[in-house]
């Protein structure tokens, strides 16, 4: 009867030993390889610092002008350009310029990393069912595991600072671009692919001349999602030492500063809307001439 009332539990000391064992072996691992791994991310760190400095130290009218121009290139919509400029002016007016630039810098770099890493993984998944089966659960895990849980090993390995923050953002933001690259390539019309093969395209030519261009709108939807998710990580990343709009929000939480929290929160929302609209409009624009999908 006892068996049904009490779930079998591992022996306490054994459990403690197991946990200890895992912890100490990971500690050893991070002691041995931590520096090496940090060194590996060095170029990324320098790039991030350079971009942040550039954004902060350039005269603000030029920075806003560049943002306006980028918005125009992406969307070809005057309304959106004006909206972008007004948003940045307001953000600056309320004293959030520096933090905002730091956030823009980390979002840009992490999005770039996600694209560079994510698209090839997505392509690999689309080419092989086995790869898809292996990678999908990993993506599921990356999206659902509470961010705090993977912050622990990252901090153990790399300490506190920009690089671990960047890594945390990338882990969270990577899945959409991988998923949608895979989906986009798999959705390309079968007859179009046959045509490409029938005229003697090698697998690489097929990928470059047909599959990637035709799945670009879908891939772009993935990039858009990745940017949104990166923005959502801003606050959590600030917990491990990433500068930006998340820092004042953390302060506001611990000190109950309503106005400070709201302002910075709304600044993040403004950034999100600008990024989202511009990338979405760009995505739609590259779909022109593509016609209806069956």
């Amino acid at each position: 009867m006892d068996f049904f009332n009490k779930i079998p539990v591992m022996d306490r000391t054994a459990l403690r030993e197991l946990k200890k064992g895992i912890d100490s072996s990971f500690k050893e691992f991070s002691r041995a390889y931590g520096d090496g791994i940090e060194g590996f991310f060095d170029p990324l760190l320098h790039f991030l610092i350079w971009l942040e400095k550039l954004l902060v130290s350039s005269p603000w009218p030029i920075v806003i002008g560049v943002f306006g121009l980028l918005a125009w290139i992406g969307s070809r919509s005057i309304k959106l350009v004006i909206g972008t400029i007004v948003c940045f002016l307001v953000i600056g007016y309320f004293g959030m310029w520096k933090n905002c630039m730091a956030t823009v810098a980390i979002i840009s770099v992490s999005t770039l990393v996600c694209i560079v890493v994510g698209i090839p993984i997505g392509v690999l998944m689309s080419k092989s069912d086995r790869a898809e089966k292996t990678i999908l659960p990993v993506l599921d895990m990356m999206q659902t595991i509470p961010s705090f849980v993977y912050l622990i090993p990252i901090i153990m390995l790399l300490g506190i600072g920009k690089v671990p923050g960047l890594l945390a953002v990338c882990i969270y933001a990577l899945p959409p671009v991988v998923r949608l690259t895979n989906l986009g390539i798999r959705e390309v019309d079968k007859e179009t692919l046959e045509a490409s093969e029938a005229f003697g395209a090698t697998p690489m030519q097929k990928l470059k001349s047909v599959q990637i261009p035709l799945s670009l709108p879908t891939i772009f939807a993935g990039v858009n999602q990745t940017i949104m998710m990166a923005l959502a990580m801003v606050v959590i990343a600030s917990m491990i030492g990433v500068k930006g709009l998340g820092v004042p929000i953390l302060q506001a939480i611990s000190n109950q500063y309503l106005a400070l929290g709201m302002m910075n929160g709304l600044a993040i929302v403004a950034l999100a809307i600008i990024f989202d609209r511009v990338t979405q409009q760009y995505g739609q624009r590259i779909q022109k001439h593509r016609g209806q999908k069956k």
């Binding site: 007859e191 179009t192 261009p213």
Partner: protein, 341 residues
């Protein structure tokens, strides 16, 4: 040597085709195999020969395996068993590189739903095969413009496919296949998605082009009229088996089995049968009433001279191009040839 030779090709779809092959070879029916093993028989012992410069039409209803068959020729699909020889080369023996080279230079293909690249302009679409062949852009555009002109699309070269109508899109598909200047052209239900008027237009255009280019064309269709119009020879597929191969007249006059019979039953025979097929040769013609004769050429279809005969109630004298008498057709013979057997 035939241009294309298909020898005992079997294609079975499913998890483990090889294991089912002996059953198919022993003559089990498609239904039995599906019931017992879950495998689908696509092609069942198909052998045929296609000669250089002819248009071979492969006809059958959907599911008969005709699209599968055509894809074997450029190995978009690999057979489960059997050999495919193109100009004497066994395509099954080609490795990856040679297969790609073979597809670039030996064969081109036109697709039912066009298979155009929606992100490329007309001229880029037409030049795609040439791009694969490694030709320079200049050369590509020059050849492409010629082919665009040949199919009557001049002025549309910088449009995108979805800006064109269905018929125009298929002209792009045709131009793309012509651009690589391959000897063999595969056309997979190329005109089936077009409406009847445009279809007949395109058939005419293909025949005109073919008269000039003399390519070996393998044409797939489910439309009997189309196959009778285009084909030098017609092969009829039923449930993966080739049931009859022959000239259009063979197929109409001597259907091999009930399936083919059902197919040709509604054919307008007057459109298919030429005078020389039903005439009685001069040396065998006795006792024909020569008082009331109309001269017709041997290559005329019945429908072309039928109205005259009906009006005048006369018999026919069949002559060749030089005007020599080749034979006679009596009213009775004409009547019986048009009657459904």
């Amino acid at each position: 040597m035939s241009k294309i030779e298909i020898n005992n090709v079997y294609k079975i779809f499913g998890k483990n085709p090889k294991s089912v092959l002996p059953m198919v070879k022993d003559g089990a029916t498609k239904e039995d195999i599906l019931d017992q093993t879950g495998h689908t028989v696509g092609l069942d012992n198909v052998s045929l020969k296609i000669e250089e410069g002819e248009t071979f039409v492969c006809m059958g209803l959907s599911g008969s395996g005709k699209s599968t068959l055509i894809r074997h020729l450029n190995r978009l699909i690999d057979p489960t068993d059997g050999d495919i020889l193109i100009e004497g080369t066994n395509v099954m023996s080609l490795n990856k590189e040679s297969l790609i080279d073979f597809r670039r230079h030996k064969m081109s293909m036109v697709f039912q739903r066009f298979g155009l690249f929606p992100h490329k302009t007309v001229i880029q679409n037409v030049g795609y095969g040439l791009e694969m062949q490694g030709k320079s852009e200049e050369e590509r555009n020059k050849t492409s413009m010629e082919k665009i002109e040949a199919v009557g699309l001049t002025g549309f070269e910088n449009q995108y496919p979805n800006q064109l109508s269905g018929g125009m899109q298929q002209r792009v598909g045709l131009a793309r296949a012509l651009a690589t200047d391959t000897d063999i052209m595969l056309m997979d239900e190329a005109f089936s998605a077009l409406d009847p008027l445009i279809r007949s237009d395109m058939q005419k255009q293909l025949m005109d082009l073919q008269a000039e280019l003399k390519k070996t064309i393998v044409f797939i269709t489910h439309d009997l009229d189309e196959s009778l119009r285009l084909g030098d020879h017609i092969g009829i597929l039923n449930a993966g088996k080739l049931v009859q191969v022959g000239t259009p007249v063979d197929i109409v006059m001597n259907p091999a089995d009930e399936y083919v019979e059902a197919f040709v039953k509604d054919v307008n025979r007057a459109k298919v049968i030429k005078a020389k097929v039903i005439m009685t040769p001069v040396n065998e013609a006795n006792g024909i009433d020569k008082s009331n004769m109309i001269k017709i050429e041997e290559d005329q279809f019945i429908e072309e001279f039928l109205p005259q005969i009906v009006c005048t109630n006369s018999n026919c004298e069949v002559v060749d191009k030089q005007g020599n008498t080749k034979g006679y057709i009596s009213n009775k013979e004409l009547q019986s040839s048009l009657l459904k057997s």
